[in-house]
């Protein structure tokens, strides 16, 4: 059986099953089981791609190549480890009275449905279905962000819905314009919304229409990436939702949105034959780096702080893809992978730390190492990883991006360095007293899930030192597909 069908069927089935029995004590384990099944299916798909190269499926409606296969596996992996993290985390939340039975069912079934929507968005060949899947992913996470039903979470979810809804409406307009450009040049027998057909004819797409289409698509999908100035929903959604959702939002959904932007950029570059698309992305990327970095200085809530860090990192990635060229693209893809792993590891540690201290305000969390060395060291290591300390993978990707910036866009390198330095100072100075020193936190009622933290950090460390040959191959191929200067 085509492993792609399993990749879709498993989370869909999981969503249905958990909608019925998610509140039972073993509902958490069923969630983990379905996520593990999705991971196995994704790994089977990966093996198939390694063996046979790019794959079309289901009458060309789905297309897996080197650009999305590693994202599919990453999504399945982080979906699985987050479900492992959800087990003790949601159990503690339930014990503290923050979740009812109905909301547990909602949480687990929406979690699986969210996985399904992301995998659909990553593997679809149809630009229209890409839009539908992105909107559906937004809708599922809106329900997940508001699951605690506190006033703050309702505000966060409403803001998220309205801002991302407006953003994604712009993306729909961009898709309509793209369709209009495509209808003129693609032969009548072929589907004009399939990315592969568009990619084959990208040189003859009308430049006027394509430039307007790309602007709308960048603004639209860029809202979901968290690019400044469209990022206002991001800190609230991360801070008020359950921590597993912050982890998958930062680690996965932002990546999927950036993937959508990249696919559109490839088409725009082909049609426009100048650096218009890339320059727009460089502008938004640098703005996001600066806004993210300087906003870090004012934060008091730990999850808001790390969400601004996500904005900064997505800015770095957007800048890298905007610059283009083999090294910057490779570095951007590597950054997408290690950032997802490191940021989700940080959020796992942060989640348990906040539960121990019963507060998300950083001044209330002190001295984690004394009470729970594993959570404390997990947070410290995760922070070092996300700040770009060698030998973690983010150092490698940031180094590559900086050096290629120095070659191609020398004026941008000081801006990036400033952003990275400010972020380092801001985050490290906040995390250090939280981990070391006198403690005020209590142990948790159930053992925290620390395997995911160290698994992710281990992978991030490995990718900083050694990239497996097939991953290297995919990054190189994908970098060539993305093109650029």
């Amino acid at each position: 059986m085509n492993p792609l069908v399993l990749v879709f069927a498993t989370p869909l089935l999981g969503s249905l099953v958990l909608a019925i029995m998610g509140h039972k004590p073993h509902g958490r384990n069923v969630n983990v089981a379905f996520s593990f099944g999705t991971l196995l299916a994704a790994m089977a798909l990966t093996i198939r791609i390694v063996a046979q190269g790019p794959l079309f499926a289901l009458s060309d409606q789905f297309f897996i190549d080197s650009l999305n296969i590693f994202l599919v596996t990453l999504t399945a992996l982080i979906g699985f480890t987050t479900s492992v993290f959800s087990r003790p985390y949601m159990r503690i939340e339930e014990d503290r009275g923050k979740m009812t039975h109905g909301r547990m069912r909602l949480y687990f079934s929406m979690y699986q449905l969210f996985s399904f929507c992301m995998l659909l968005a990553l593997t679809t060949n149809n630009m229209g279905i890409l839009w539908v899947a992105m909107e559906a992913a937004t809708l599922t996470t809106v329900l997940l962000v508001s699951v605690y039903r506190t006033p703050a979470s309702l505000e966060a979810a409403w803001k998220y819905f309205i801002l991302c809804g407006v953003g994604i409406a712009q993306a729909l307009l961009g898709t309509i314009l793209l369709y209009m450009a495509a209808q003129k040049v693609i032969e009548p027998g072929l589907n004009p919304l399939l990315w592969t057909n568009l990619n084959a004819s990208k040189l003859v797409l009308n430049p006027t229409i394509m430039s307007l289409a790309f602007v709308f698509l960048l603004v639209g999908y860029g809202t979901k990436v968290g690019l400044a100035p469209l990022h206002n929903w991001l800190p609230d959604a991360h801070a008020e939702g359950p921590t597993p959702i912050s982890a998958v939002l930062s680690g996965l959904l932002l990546n999927v949105a950036l993937y959508a932007v990249i696919r559109c950029k490839i088409l725009a570059d082909g049609a426009l034959q100048n650096n218009f698309a890339g320059n727009l992305m460089i502008g938004f990327g640098l703005l996001s780096v600066l806004v993210g970095a300087f906003s870090l200085l004012r934060q008091r809530d730990i999850k808001r702080m790390f969400s601004y860090s996500s904005i900064e990192h997505m800015g770095i990635m957007t800048f890298a893809f905007g610059m283009g060229g083999p090294i910057a693209n490779f570095a951007g893809l590597l950054h997408m992978t290690v950032h997802a792993l490191s940021k989700s590891a940080v959020f796992y540690a942060v989640g348990h730390a906040a539960q121990k201290a019963r507060s998300q305000i950083m001044d209330d969390i002190r001295g984690l190492i004394k009470v729970s060395p594993t959570v404390g060291w997990g947070l410290m290591m995760g922070t070092l990883a996300i700040l770009g300390m060698p030998p973690f993978g983010i150092f490698a990707s940031e180094f590559l991006i900086l050096t290629s910036a120095m070659h191609q866009l020398p004026w941008a390198a000081p801006v990036l360095l400033l952003g990275l330095a400010v972020a380092f100072g801001a985050i490290f100075s906040r995390v250090q007293p939280m981990v070391f020193g006198e403690t005020n936190v209590k142990p948790l009622a159930h053992p925290p899930a620390l395997l995911p933290v160290f698994l992710h950090l281990g992978l991030a460390l490995m990718l900083g030192l050694y990239i497996p040959s097939y991953l290297n191959e995919w990054f190189l191929q994908a970098a060539a597909i993305i093109g650029g200067r």
Binding site: G128, W131, E135, S146, R149, W158, M180, A239
Partner: protein, 219 residues
């Protein structure tokens, strides 16, 4: 006959623009829902006419779906919400209505300017309507950001989506059916979720005034 049909399509497009302005000026919430339903009806009429002129069968299905969803189902859901939430107020706007109308005119001129080069390249029968569709999108957006209550924001969002469907019809004879179905499903689910939210916002804040939802800031 096609000449008359094309004139009729342009007429419906102008009606759509007029209704968008009417929404901007409207203060009572129940009338907003009625204007939204009328917008849906206009889109249905325009889509059916385009289907007739260009012999694109799938546009009839698209028009039927719009009719069921946007003229009957969603306004009915909104009516029920208004009754259950007991919303009776006249809507306050952040900027006074004459200023909003002037801003709306500026937006329309801007949209027409923006879409002029694209309309020249369009091969569809109604190239001029793309500018109107873009103007309606921007007007709905302005309505969303200048209203201080939850339900008008939702209606602004829905009317933006209506304008986008009309843009798709006028520029590209609609989108492939599977995409249209997906969009319709997203809109429907979105309305449900927004309805659920409005209840919860009301429960938490005892009011549907959006200014209550401005507390999440950095200190």
């Amino acid at each position: 006959m096609t000449d008359l049909s094309i004139q009729m399509i342009n007429l419906f497009a102008s009606l759509l623009l007029l209704l968008a302005f009417a929404m901007l000026a409207q203060r009572r919430v129940i009338n907003l829902v009625h204007i939204y339903a009328m917008q849906g009806l206009t889109v249905v009429a325009a889509t059916s006419l385009v289907a007739y002129v260009t012999h694109q069968e799938h546009l009839y299905y698209s028009a039927a779906m719009t009719l069921v969803l946007k003229v009957f189902l969603i306004p009915w859901i909104l009516h029920r919400l208004i009754k259950q939430l007991d919303i009776r107020w006249d809507v306050e706007t952040l900027i006074n209505i004459p200023s909003m109308m002037l801003a709306g005119i500026v937006l329309v001129v801007f949209s027409f300017n923006l879409s002029l080069p694209i309309s020249k390249l369009s091969t569809s029968v109604t190239p001029g309507t793309l500018g109107i569709a873009l103007a309606c999108v921007l007007l709905s957006f302005m309505m969303m950001i200048t209203r201080s209550k939850a339900l008008p924001q939702v209606i602004g969002f829905l009317s933006m989506e209506n304008a986008l469907v009309f843009a798709a019809t006028s520029a590209t004879y609609g989108m492939p059916m599977v995409v249209e179905l997906g969009i319709a499903l997203d809109v429907l689910v979105g309305v449900f979720i927004l309805g659920v939210f409005m209840f919860q916002i009301r429960e938490q804040f005892e009011s549907l005034d959006i200014s209550h939802l401005e507390n999440l800031k950095e200190e």
